[in-house]
């Protein structure tokens, strides 16, 4: 017999919402924060003429920006597929 609760609430969808929200919410915000961190530090390193630090922080900024951009594209695709 199917439990009453499972016929009212789609438990699988609910669990999916929870873990996708947790991973994507924290992940995307962290990626953007890394882009902010990388850009700021790269700029400071460039002014201090520390080439390796500039390249390293620049790479972090680029990676963060790439993940954020990809998330925006995925979000737009989700909207059109609803």
């Amino acid at each position: 017999m199917k439990p009453i609760a499972s016929s009212i609430v789609d438990g699988h969808a609910l669990l999916q919402v929870i873990y996708v929200s947790l991973l994507a919410g924290v992940g995307i915000a962290t990626a953007f924060a890394l882009a902010v961190l990388g850009t700021t530090r790269a700029s400071e390193s460039r002014r201090a003429r520390r080439t390796s630090a500039t390249v390293g922080y620049g790479a972090i900024a680029l990676a963060g920006a790439a993940v954020t951009s990809a998330a925006v594209v995925v979000g737009l695709v989700y909207m059109t597929q609803k």
Binding site: D10, Q16, V17, A24, L37, V72
Partner: protein, 364 residues
């Protein structure tokens, strides 16, 4: 002739609901950006209005599913739809006046369910659907957003702790523009479709378009998109003030966290077919971003008032929907009842607006 008038009244009321939906939910999209000075207030509502308009054209797939699984579709008449819309508009206006964010979708569902209950008794309402599609998501949405936004802000603070405040603030403000834009697009896609669905149902009931294999007419899409965009541009400033400054005093990282988590949760939930209220998600996100910094940073009295409004949304809009349906039935099943209610509502709103315009502006 009578059914033509009824159709015009229902379409006009649906567009009025769409307008209130827009100005009621403007806060969800712009409150955090305005509060952290990421963007000027008028520019924020202008961008939000444009993106809501554009969002309404992105997808039409759920326009025909309004009320599905919540009311018995075979018993829905234009009078029930009209009474439901009035219930939702009344709740939207009441909560806007009190500056309380609440779900326009839940108000519409409550209004239609109340009118269906008044028309057909308990058989007209699918209570399992109400529980599964309204009540449980209303509990999940704020709690999930609260937890995710709280966790996110802790990670962000740790990451940017040693940065100078200036660059970090500018960075997060830029991020808010991005996440706010996504929210506005998602809102236009989700919420304008409800009105398109209501108008399409009315056109089917009127016989203007066939019940099977229909497409939402272009004029319906343009009208619904325009109404929600105009409502958004009008801006529900009382609710913007509550969400932007009265729940917590937020910094740009908190605003970014609440908004990004809000957009992510809404899109994730929508994608897996578990739609959550934008209002509940953003409000929960703001509280979570505040509480993670310091529990006492959240004004729990305001949060309690908001939660009370959420709890009352369904019964209050249902009661108004049922009352309006009962009143319109006094005049029979034709257009007379809805026309009288629509005219009386329009007159009352115009009188209230004129009275407000005559009042001197209070110094704040």
């Amino acid at each position: 002739m009578g059914s033509d008038i009824l159709l015009i009244v229902v379409v006009g009321t649906a567009l009025a609901f769409d307008f209130t939906n827009g100005f009621h939910d403007t806060a969800n999209v712009v409150a955090t950006s305005i509060s952290t000075r990421a963007v000027a207030p008028r520019v924020a509502v202008g961008i939000a209005a444009l993106l809501n308009f554009a969002g309404a054209f992105i997808s039409l797939k759920v326009a025909a599913t309004v009320g599905k699984g919540i009311v018995d579709a075979s018993t829905i008449t234009m009078q029930i739809v009209f009474a439901g819309l009035i219930g939702a508009i009344a709740w939207n206006l009441a909560t806007w006046y009190l500056g309380l964010p609440s779900s326009s979708s839940h108000a519409l569902i409550g209004g239609v369910a109340g009118a269906a209950f008044a028309g057909h008794g308990a058989a007209g309402v699918q209570f399992d659907g109400l529980l599964g599609k309204v009540l449980i998501p209303a509990l999940v949405a704020p709690l999930l957003a609260f937890a995710v936004a709280g966790l996110t802000i802790l990670v962000l603070y740790r990451l940017v702790a040693r940065l100078r405040p200036g660059p970090a603030t500018r960075g997060f403000r830029l991020g808010q523009l991005l996440s706010g834009g996504m929210l506005a697009l998602a809102h236009g896609t989700n919420d304008a479709q409800k009105t398109m669905g209501v108008i399409t149902l009315a056109l089917i009931a009127h016989g203007s378009i066939p019940a099977s294999g229909f497409a939402v007419p272009t004029w319906v899409v343009v009208a619904a998109a325009s109404a929600i965009a105009l409502g958004t541009y009008a801006g529900g400033w009382r609710i913007i003030k509550t969400m932007g400054t009265r729940i917590i005093k937020m910094d740009s990282a908190q605003g970014f966290s609440a908004q990004t988590v809000g957009a992510t949760v809404i899109l994730a939930a929508s994608h897996v077919g578990f739609p959550l209220s934008t209002t509940h998600v953003i409000s929960g996100g703001i509280m979570g971003a505040g509480a993670a910094k310091s529990v006492s940073a959240v004004r729990w009295g305001i949060a309690g008032n908001i939660a009370a409004a959420w709890a009352l949304t369904l019964p209050a809009s249902a009661a108004v929907g049922a009352g309006v349906y009962g009143f319109t039935r006094i005049f029979g099943s034709g257009a007379a009842g809805p026309a009288i209610v629509a005219l009386a509502s329009a007159l009352a709103l115009t009188a209230a607006l004129l009275r407000r315009l005559r009042q001197p502006v209070a110094a704040t």
